[in-house]
Structures are given as C-alpha cells and as structure tokens.
C-alpha cells in the first residue's frame, strides 16, 4: 500500500468519530464517549460544565460545588440499549448503576463532594462478513470503567470558584478475537485482559460573570491502564505473542461551558469539549494481525447544548429538559516529521515477523506462507460516515420537601440510553 494511500485512509479514518484505541481488531468499535449519568446533566446532553447548584458538580466541574444551596444526595440507574456500531459490530444492552454523589458546603467558602460513576460500560461483539480471502473475524470486547472520586471547591470571592477532583478509575477489560475460515481452527487468536486502577484528576473554575451568566472551565487528564495481550495461532500451534503490554488511554479533555439563566423558569447551557486522544506511535500499536497504523495525533471537538424549563406549581415544580450533543469529527495531524522515536512507556511489542526465505520442504513452505498471512498488517476498516447529533430529553419533579425525581433519555447514535435518578436535598 503506498504511503499516500495509507495517509489518505488515515485521514478519512481520523475524520470519523474518534474510535479505536490501538490497532488490534477488537478495539475497532470501542469509543470514548462521556455519557452523563446524573439526572440533570443527562437531560441536558451533558452540558454541565457551568451547571450550578447540583451535587453532580463533584464529577462534572468541582468548582461548582460551592454554589450548592443545600446538601444533596443523589443516585441514578442507567439502562444502555442494544445497538450496532458504524462498523456493524453489536453493542449489548446493559442496565446498572449510573451515578451517585453526596455533596455539601462546609462553610460559606468551602464545599466537598464524593461520587461514584460508571462512565464507560460496553460489550462489543464483532461481526464481520467473510472476506475475499475466505476469512472472517469473531470476538468480543467487554470493558467497564468505574470511577470513584472526591472533590473540593473553594470560593475565592463572590464571583470566582475553583475546584479539584481526584478519582480512582478502575478498568475491567476482557477482549478476544479470532480470525478463522469456515471449518478450520482459528488462524489467529488474540486475547487482552486488563484489571487495574489508575488515578485521574480534574481541575475546574467557575466564574459568575453576572447573576444570570456563568462560565465554567475544566481540564481532565485521562487515565491510562495497562492491558496484557497474548496472541497465538491455534491452526499452526504457534505462539505469536507470549505476553506483551499495551496501554488503553482515556482521552484528556478541556471543556468550556456557559450557563445563561434567562429567567427563574428558563435556562440555557452550552459546552465545547476539546478531546485529545493522544499520540499513537508505531512502537505502541504494531500488532501481528492487527490493523496497519501510523504515527498520528487524534483530537476531536464536541459541542453540547441544553435547555431547561422550570414550572412552579402549588406544591411542586416540574422541569423539562432537552439537549443536543454533536460527536467529534476527529482530526488527523501527521506527526511523522516530529516523531522522535522516544521510548514507549509500554513494553516493546514483539517485532513483525520478516519474510523468511522459502524453505525447500513444500509443507514447511506452506506453513511459512500461512504464518506470513496471519501476521500481516491489515487494511484498517473503512471510515464511518459522520454521525448526526445525539438528542437528549429529560424531565424532573421537585417536591416542596426537596426531593427530586429525574427521567432522561438519549436518542439516536449507536444506541439509546434511559436513566432514572433521584436526589434529596437537606
């Protein structure tokens, strides 16, 4: 494949919503997408960087904790529906814990909060038709990230708040794919396993520009988890990768949000995220039988916009929310000229098997040819078409005693989601 064609395919791949982590096949439908699981944020499509007076700020923007008017305890259940990725892989449905938080002020200047969330939970079942070479892919990737964190905020002056959040992010990953013909044993079997916890931090600032206008800024360093990988050829009874370590990277995010309260009954929230997936270098991603990579940096811009209407009734209030989330188109920046070949933090992967001279024995020659085919780098999948924005809808009932019940739904995209949350203020 010529260099130009490779660059072109990567540009197109990069222009699609940011997806695969490394070049192994089972990552091809994996995506980092922040799915808000707090009640209000979910109905606003996640436009919560500048949202105030909500315990979910412990996760979204810790600086906003000092805007809490009362202590708050909240929790949610999240149902992710079944779906299909842009590449045709199946996404399994899943129902589980979404988000929980407890937050409150210590005094007029300090506030603290603690939270638990499950920002990523997916099971991907690979589904590939038989290719022109008579082979197909089978496999799955099961990945769950659980975040537990604490946050603190300080009110510098009546208008400026700062905050920091530290979270322990646990990854539980199990992946496997097989490349096989109809009746043979798999020609290639790759397995990955990850079970570790890493710390990530998020710092935030909230500026109350006027009583109606607030600006929020947040920066998060993404967590990085080690994943153990093995590869073999059951057909040839060969070990291709006895054990190597790769890295699963959560992107870092810089987020800016604006909140405008037009009246006590109407609120608008907007947010722009700069999502940086990091640099992938050949030394990081070359895997026998995987996709052909190159050195590039992948980043994406994502926009969110939400609206909230509050209707006070005699003994309770009803709130209605709607939001839009445009997924990042991604962008490619060729770093070949700047790549300095610095040592990857992960262990050096096994080198690609170079073509060996054809042995005299025909059987051995066939075996060598098969091995070459199995370990050859593959063309990456075709780029997905740009996705339409995700739509979020939500509603809440707030009683006079300070109890809130939330319902939210995320529509369109690869799969829908439904959330039920409740919060108590005291």
């Amino acid at each position: 494949m010529t260099r130009a064609l490779l660059a072109l395919s990567l540009v197109m791949w990069g222009a699609a919503p940011a997806r695969a982590q490394t070049a192994d096949v089972y990552y091809r439908s994996w995506r980092w997408m922040e799915e808000p699981a707090a009640g209000r944020a979910a109905g606003l499509a996640g436009a919560s960087t500048a949202l105030v007076d909500d315990a979910a700020a412990a996760e979204a923007n810790p600086a906003a904790l000092t805007t809490l008017t009362k202590n708050e305890l909240t929790g949610s259940l999240l149902h992710r529906g079944a779906g299909t990725s842009a590449l045709g892989d199946s996404l399994a449905a899943r129902t589980g814990f979404g988000f929980g938080a407890l937050a409150g002020r210590l005094n007029p200047r300090w506030a603290v909060g603690a939270f638990v969330s499950e920002p990523q939970a997916v099971r991907i079942d690979l589904a590939s038709p038989i290719g022109g070479d008579g082979l197909r892919d089978e496999g799955h990737l099961d990945g769950v990230v659980v975040q537990r964190g604490i946050a603190a905020a300080f009110r510098v002056n009546p208008k400026l708040h700062v905050g920091v959040r530290v979270s322990a992010n646990h990854l539980d990953l199990d992946g496997e794919y097989r490349r096989l013909a109809a009746a043979d044993a798999p020609r290639l079997l790759v397995q990955a396993r990850g079970d570790s916890t890493r710390v990530a931090t998020r710092v935030g600032v909230l500026l109350e520009m006027t009583r109606r206008l607030r600006l929020g800024l947040v920066r998060e360093s993404g967590a990085r988890w080690p994943v153990q990988r093995t590869a073999s050829s059951p057909l040839l009874q060969e070990t291709l990768d006895p054990g190597s370590e790769e890295e699963l990277r959560q992107p870092s995010v810089v987020s800016g949000g604006l909140l405008f309260r037009a009246s006590p009954k109407l609120l608008f929230s907007g947010q722009l995220d700069y999502v940086r997936h990091g640099v992938l270098r050949p030394a990081d991603v070359v895997r026998p039988g995987g996709y052909a990579p190159s050195s590039y940096e992948l980043f994406a811009w994502e926009a969110r916009l939400g609206m909230e209407v509050s209707l006070p009734l005699p003994s309770l209030s009803v709130q209605l929310r709607a939001g839009l989330h445009t997924l990042g188109r991604g962008a490619l920046r060729e770093l070949a000229a700047t790549f300095d070949g610095a040592t990857s933090p992960t262990a050096a992967p096994p080198p690609l098997l170079p073509p060996a001279p054809a042995p005299a024995d025909p059987e051995l020659a066939l075996r060598a040819e098969l091995l070459q085919q199995i370990t050859a780098l593959r063309e990456p999948p075709p780029p997905a078409s740009p996705e339409s924005p995700l739509l979020a809808l939500g509603a809440s009932i707030v009683t006079a005693k300070g109890v809130r019940f939330d319902l939210a739904a995320r529509l369109r995209g690869e799969r829908s989601a439904l959330l039920f949350a409740t919060a108590v203020r005291f």
Binding site: T69, N71, P108, P264, P312
Partner: protein, 259 residues
C-alpha cells in the same frame, strides 16, 4: 397570689392597678370562641407562649399601636399565663377556658392617678408634664437597638425550581428583638403578603424594592427565637418560602443527626 377576677361580657375594660406584676388579670375564654385582649401600649415582648398554651389557640394579632392577643381555645379545661410587656407597662394575664360563653373583647387600662387636693397656703400645682414621647424602641428600630446589635450571617436560600430565590441574609440580635433580613432575588415586583412562625402570625415586618431585588426585614421577639425556629413567608403571587435559621451545611446536618 391575688387574682383579679373578671366576669366575661361581650366587651369589657379592666383597670390594672399599678404595673400589675403581682396580680395576674384573669380572662375567661369560651371554648371554640375568640376572645381578644387589647393591651393599652405597643407590645414589645410576649412571654409564656409555648407548647403548654397551644390548647388555648393563642396568637399575636398585632403589636402596635396597641398589642392585641387573640385566644380561641380548642380544648377545655385549659389555662395559661402570659406576661405582656410594653414600653412602660408589664401585665401578667391568666387565660382560662370556659365551657360556655360568647366571643368578647377585653381591654386593659391603667387606673387614672389620684387628683391631689390643693392646700390654702400651698403654691398652685405645677402643670402636669407632657406624656413621654413613645420610646424609639417601640418602633421597628431604636438607637439603643442599633448600638447593641450582634450580626450573625446565615446566607440560606430557599425556593423551588421556577421560583425566585429568597435568601435569608443574616440575623441581627438585639436585647429584646431579633431582625431577620431577607432578599428576594429579582423579585422587586413581588410583595410579601404574610409572615408566620410556630408562635403565630408575624405582623412586624418591612419590605421595599432594592434594585432588582425585594428586601424584607422581619422582627421577632428574641426570647422566642431558638434553633428550632421555622419562619415562613408567603408572596402575593402565592409562592411560600420556609426557613430554618441556620445555614445549610454538611457539618450542621451531621451535628443534628448525632446530637
């Protein structure tokens, strides 16, 4: 203790000898009927309202220009003693429920001073001094109150989604009164229609627009203000706000739980 007895009539005036401190005035109150007691001065302090007087259904109807206490017993027998203080007068009143009777009004009045007899050789009596001007303390604020005020910041917000936020800014504690300052954000066009707390209606409050907000000051007798005090304000638009008088913080909540 000598009790000055009074026969209940539709309307009656009771003369109080001296300052009345030693002799409670007895006022019979028919059950399920309202008896109004009119104090001859502005009321500065009412002592004795509490759980034991709840069966008497007591409430302070007004504090000035004359204090008015209404009593509507809901059970019989029931009794309670209140101490009423004005700028110059202190009276103890014993309220007792009766099984029968009609609604009535009882007015308390001071006995007129005796007229002195002039002697042939004594100089003509000096003209009576003008009655003292009402003490500034009888109004909402007095200079002495301001000198002794202790300010306690609270910053407690109440209001459901869709309502204007009302903020209890702080409490100003004087010797006999406590003033609570509120701010209704962006509520300059609103008006407070009613204020009440666990001891009944509150009639001493002021309100005026302050820029885009509505400022409200509520006066409560300091002795009645405790950690369990709850105050409610209702706007003309119908929104009601209920306040505890402490800031809402995590340490405060935990203290309440483990107290």
């Amino acid at each position: 203790m000598r009790v000055v007895a009074l026969v209940a009539v539709q309307s009656a005036t009771v003369i109080i000898p001296g300052d009345g401190r030693e002799d409670p005035v007895r006022v019979p109150c028919p059950v399920h009927r309202t008896t109004r007691l009119v104090f001859p001065e502005p009321l500065r302090l009412v002592k004795g309202l509490g759980r034991e007087t709840q069966p008497l259904g007591m409430s302070v109807e007004s504090l000035k220009p004359q204090g008015v206490i209404t009593v509507t017993p809901t059970a019989h027998p029931a009794r309670g003693i209140l101490e009423l203080r004005g700028p110059t007068l202190t009276v103890r009143v014993l309220f007792e429920s009766t099984a029968e009777g009609a609604a009535s009004e009882v007015r308390l009045a001071l006995a007129p001073p005796p007229t002195p007899q002039p002697s042939p050789s004594s100089p003509p009596p000096a003209p009576s001094p003008a009655p003292p001007a009402p003490s500034p303390s009888a109004g909402f604020f007095g200079p002495q109150d301001v000198l002794r005020l202790v300010t306690v910041p609270i910053d407690r917000r109440e209001g459901r989604p869709g309502q204007h936020q009302m903020v209890l800014v702080d409490a100003l504690h004087g010797d006999e009164w406590t003033w609570l300052r509120f701010r209704l954000e962006d509520g300059a066009d609103e008006r407070v229609q009613r204020v009440w707390w666990e001891q009944g209606e509150v009639t001493r409050y002021l309100q005026e627009p302050a820029g885009p907000d509505l400022g409200v000051v509520v006066q409560l007798p300091r002795e009645g203000v405790t950690r369990k005090t709850r105050l409610a304000l209702k706007l003309a638009s119908g929104a009601t706000y209920r306040f505890a008088l402490q800031p809402s913080t995590l340490p405060g909540f935990l203290r309440e739980i483990f107290k």
